[in-house]
Symmetry: D2
Subunit: 460 residues, 4 copies
């Protein structure tokens, strides 16, 4: 008998370059914990089915715990020759329990084993990401609360449009990351399916109690079809889709922080501890964190494209191509976690320059819409009011003034309906507070949204 778990019919040994090329240890090593959990559950299920004795199961489980400790202490040297994590674990297990180790692989294939490991891994990581999202959403709500009342320009097309509360802007991100949470929760539910028992593809011939294995491993469901179970990677694709969408949100926030850190906007001050300088330009303080997070967005998108490309057109069931699935998956997991972690740390230290944002909120004709609304309230149709205000804006721009800096008689050139009460209508505070519709930027709405979010976060 040869060295490999499969070389009975082979006449030539594997080429060393082939061993290196086909080894999955670069990523598999991160799965040992889950692989051992799965093996322990599997040997107990074998015992329950009478395939091995209860005492054998306990001896195997104890041996597997020893292997876990060896690996966690860094005592096991990984080798391409042993191909994957499953073989490494079994190899070390044999060192502890001898020939008994060979019984562990009964009623199991590496095909259902890796499907199990990947699901256990991703369930744990997804739960961790949901917890990170909770912490980050809390940080956003805290930021909104701490800056309640700070006005800033709201933008469309990166043009100043209407003044909003900074807190309203922050709470828009709270909404995005709350949707992300919901998507990860749904993905978690769909990945919570136990594949063991599917063996190579057709199901094992042993009458295993798969529900029992599922309970031991904390799964709520077992897979319904063995061929699907070993060839399905939907749970990875769905996770990576959710991660990609989450990264678009992080990239948007990052873009805004980069803009706001520029000399031109100057809306926020990022803490020194989260910035770096330039080796050549002594004055520079660069918003590296947002830039890097923005840059890492493509990495997650690329991983999704990688995995979609990989899975496209693969005939059933397992194909070796699928060994490549864990590289983009783990990279996406690690990237998203790192980005969330750094934002959780940085967000409480973002200082909003309320003087700057407040002044900016009052300039750039952002009260033009409100002047139009004022005219509508005096009986003009909206489209007409819009045109009338457009002319007033053009005139004011020529004078180098804002609308609220025009005199009443100047304003009345454009409509006789304008009265002294127009100045109140054009103040930043009133503009903000008039937007009391549900979801609007009025202080009372935003305060209510913050309160609701805090309650929700506490309840989660």
């Amino acid at each position: 008998m040869g060295e490999k778990p499969w070389d009975g019919r082979f006449s030539e040994p594997t080429d060393k370059a082939v061993e290196a090329f086909t080894s999955s240890m670069a990523v598999d090593r991160h799965l040992y914990h889950y692989d051992i959990d799965g093996s322990i559950a599997h040997c107990r299920t074998l015992a329950r089915a009478g395939v091995i004795a209860e005492t054998e199961a306990e001896e195997l489980a104890a041996g597997l715990e020893k292997v876990r400790q060896e690996i966690s202490r860094g005592e096991v040297v990984f080798s391409d020759r042993l191909e994957d994590i499953h073989m490494h674990v079994e190899d070390r297990l044999a060192a502890h329990v001898g020939a008994l180790a060979r019984k562990l692989h009964t009623a199991r294939s590496r095909n259902d084993q890796i499907a199990l490991d990947a699901r256990l891994y991703l369930k744990a990581e997804t739960r961790g990401i949901i917890a990170q999202l909770r912490a980050f959403r809390q940080a956003l709500v805290d930021l909104a609360e701490a800056n309640m009342g700070v006005a800033m320009p709201g933008y469309t097309h990166l043009q100043r449009a209407q003044p909003v509360l900074f807190s309203h802007h922050a709470m828009a991100y709270y909404e995005m990351f709350t949707r992300d949470t919901s998507r990860f929760c749904d993905a978690l539910e769909r990945m919570d399916v136990m594949p063991l028992g599917s063996a190579a593809l057709a199901g094992t011939t042993y009458r295993l109690d798969r529900e029992y294995t599922a309970r031991l491993l904390g799964f709520s469901k077992v897979s319904e079809n063995s061929m699907d179970a070993v060839s399905d990677r939907d749970f990875m694709l769905e996770f990576m889709s959710a991660a990609s969408i989450c990264m678009t949100h992080l990239s948007r926030l990052s873009e805004e922080l980069v803009l706001w850190s520029s000399a031109e906007f100057d809306f926020v001050d990022l803490p020194d501890a989260f910035c770096t300088g330039s080796s050549i330009m002594p004055q520079k303080k660069n918003p590296d964190i947002p830039e890097l997070v923005r840059g890492k967005t493509g990495r997650v998108f690329g991983g999704l494209v990688n995995l979609l490309t990989l899975m496209k057109s693969l005939p059933l069931t397992y194909n070796r191509d699928m060994q490549e699935d864990k590289i983009p998956l783990m990279d996406a997991v690690d990237t998203l976690k790192a980005c969330l972690d750094i934002y959780i740390r940085m967000t409480p230290n973002i200082r909003v320059k309320s003087g700057v944002t407040g002044r900016a909120a009052g300039r750039g004709f952002q009260n033009a819409t409100d002047l139009a609304d004022y005219l509508v309230s005096k009986g003009m149709a909206f489209r007409e009011a819009h045109a009338c205000v457009g002319k007033a804006v053009a005139w004011a721009m020529d004078c180098g003034k804002e609308l609220h800096e025009l005199s009443l008689s100047e304003l009345q050139q454009f409509s006789g309906k304008i009265g002294e009460d127009v100045y109140d209508a054009l103040s930043v505070e009133q503009m903000i507070d008039r937007r009391r519709v549900f979801g609007g930027t009025a202080r009372e709405n935003v305060a209510a949204a913050v309160k609701k979010a805090k309650q929700r976060l506490e309840a989660e």
Copy 2:
């Protein structure tokens, strides 16, 4: 006053090339139905809030219904000059109700209007796709049922591995499309959020009853934050992610049908009505449908990449880039619908060549695992049994025989544990029926899976 809804402050007319470049009519035209639904709900909400009279609301609604009919009859010529569908509708509305039409755009922006239209469109299309998936899953279950008992080789690495039932293979696809259904349902829930009232970005100043608008339009929730509402395209990204995953399933099925239609496999006969021939090779009958579906997979992936790229790093709130969102979305919707439709039509006409698949199931040493299991049942450890069978396979290959074609004495060369009962163990029927673990390929399991699926489909 100029021609555009916004040109009050402009001194130069828009360049004609710019009108063509910026027009969204190529895709917007498909939204008129939803745009009009939204406008009718909006004018009723304005009336309820006292912004316009009830009679005005009814006059507007009646005018909008007239516009709907004009467009549906193809009587409205779309023009780049009027930029988008909203302006076309308002333009025609003015023709019917005169100056009153100008009141419709009160308390609304094109930013929240397009967010509404896109959600209404996608909700309807997603529901349609879920219905298509139901029909397709039914067709797969019917195919499984009609071919119950047909054996075929199960493959890993495109190597014959173990015999399975064709129906088990078909039911693996049922599982995939059932997961797709579940993903689209979750996406549908998250897109079911009414954005109107957000106005341009900050919320309208009018106290609209947004829950009322939502009820009129069949939404179950209203958006929580106006800035998020006008700049969120998550619902599109999530739909396109789900569509991409669904296309991987269709591409895998298509790949298999192409393989199975080849002279080498010859497992299925696709109906003439779904194939084409060659203009140069008279003997050809090409599996065009599966090939085209496989080819369209990249189109949906590309659309997802398009939209992810588009949304990356956009600062809040609306940016004109987002006008490009509907092109990949509608293309993905249309592509997925067309692929599902053609598969719903073709699937009932797929003829499985059970003679060919059955013979193939009995060849290629697919009973090797079962010989190993047989040895394990006689007391050998699995890894040893595997190696022992490996040697038997190598020997049989040299003889040009299958394992079950070896005599007992030949077999006993490899292990004395082998007895006469081995031949039963190595028959295709027994191999299939021994895999009775839940999710396995045994006839009783597959029949139960089919029954369960039929009940579920009826209940949906």
Copy 3:
């Protein structure tokens, strides 16, 4: 004999839904011109090989010219039943020349015919894009020349770093689009290969003079291998890669124009004719063109992903999947052309606000590096000078002053090496003009770069 060019062996007619699903007329219609060119060259080659008579060739060519005119006048109704452009042309040809039309398809397959059409199409379009790039590069050089001497801040990390000439910034884009030109030229050379004669896949049995066909059609090479010729889509992939890279450049320029059009930067004024306003906010003037170009970037990326996905893992030779190739290709061609066209129109009308950019160039401690260089020129090591200036910047920020606004004694706190000549060293003009290294921003360099570019453009 049936209706299709291939249905001799078929017993059922094609399903109507299948005809619609498999038809390529939506994109093929744009190829009629090239298809007819190819057919004319083909019938002349057939005559030269003695397969048909010279008079037959001329009759066919005359008939094909009639078909070209019919189609160009919109007189031919395209139908899904006739599948593709080749069949439509042949169908119309038969109307003009009768049974002779049937001889045209000798020694040819739709597989080599579509490969030819696609290459003819893409060669023409690529040449057009190279010409557009030339015009756009000219516009950039003109913009650089017209604004020679205008200072602005140069940015890294979107932080003001060192003052540069606006013209230097513009010429950076000239370099990018010059590289794009070079890439399209290389792609053009590789696509300039004549595939006709490959027939379905194995080569025609007729001894055609393929070099003659190539000369008639303006190709410089003929394909070397018939199987490669009908299954190769590299020329499309390479074009789309070049187009994607070109779009990254357009997206970067667009991002900058959006930033520069904001109230915060206020560096440029885009012409009214190229902007639109808001239907709700009368003051808005939105940079729609740059936003839309930026948004269209993802569309070209998505098309590239589409085509890469499509071609991945296709076995030789032609597969029907490849019918889907022209959709992303033509979309990318049209998108890139439209973006270049609109930029060629808009660029001459961009007005740089030199007062604003000049003031910005003098603020934000952009002379910090030059103060460090000044200290190095006085004998300090660079890393020390950098640290010393870092402290001076921190101190000046606390005072609310720029470095050049500090008094000499204030400056000397940080190093005794600083003398009166420091103020010259810190002026924007000197900072710019000191960067005389080849490729640097000094006026003389930039003027030389502009001159060189103009000469090159004239020579192209």
Copy 4:
């Protein structure tokens, strides 16, 4: 003075988590060799410009060589605190030459330094890949030569279409990889541009002789514009596009090898040393190498998407996002190299089962086109001949015979033009050898193509 090269103006130390998040050492470590080459050339250029003394330059160069040896011997511990490879080198340099080390960074920024390192790295790797492609093309030509005369079915739509030589099929891949070579050569030329002297963005104030630096480092050109030089990543994008196209070719070849290794095709035997077995199915011999190469295709596509996404919409000049560029680049380089290497090793060991392929070439009505051509040679129009043969095929299929197995009278049912000479026309050998058009599959053509390729490879 602090620990960082830029912290003069900072009041807080960098957060440890930020150091880890912003460090680029994971990828930078692979660049040390190029970084040191660049620094040696830079210090010589500084000396030539009189900025430092010649003796200082030599002392620095000697110190840098010591650092190179330390790193190559693994004696340098990399740390996130020192951010990047440049700082590690300078840190170690200071240990060898003391304060002089601080002069090295004069007239240079990390922005132009990393642009240089990346170009040096990619030039070397691209040259290596071109050499690998040459070796692989040689292996394909050798395979073609070794199997000259072996017939096999040629496929379209994975349907047997016309017989071809296996060597013709192999030479189709030779053409693809020759085009790849040409693309990498063009990319190499465009990346051969020396950026040093651009400093941070505006050009250095020192009058460096950049052509001299270029000569020292083996570049043929210097960059024309400093802002472009530090913010350009086209050379990476172009490399990754070429790599993606090359991977589509490898994926197609891999797909075919997987198909040909199946029991159904059984066309090739891959060497045991390049295959693995199954841990559960003793009979399996899996084509892992082609499967893994096919699976790695998505990885390169994903990397391209990553980098395109990253670069999209970045304003000039350097942004920290760009630090993420090397991860997909190096991964694509390593992936492509590994795939080419394993194919170079495996290709000479592929054994074509000429008996199987030859038999397959004679079945499946692949002589149908030739029967049509035969009829054309007897005076029938091609489209008619096609239809006539279609009927003969249908009839023969019903009889379970091939066309050449029909008797003359059976054949004459379909056309009276058929004579005894038809059987020669229908033989595999004649079918192949009749395709003597340039690029066709006739033996003389393929032999000529092989000869031409060998001459070209020798000349390269």
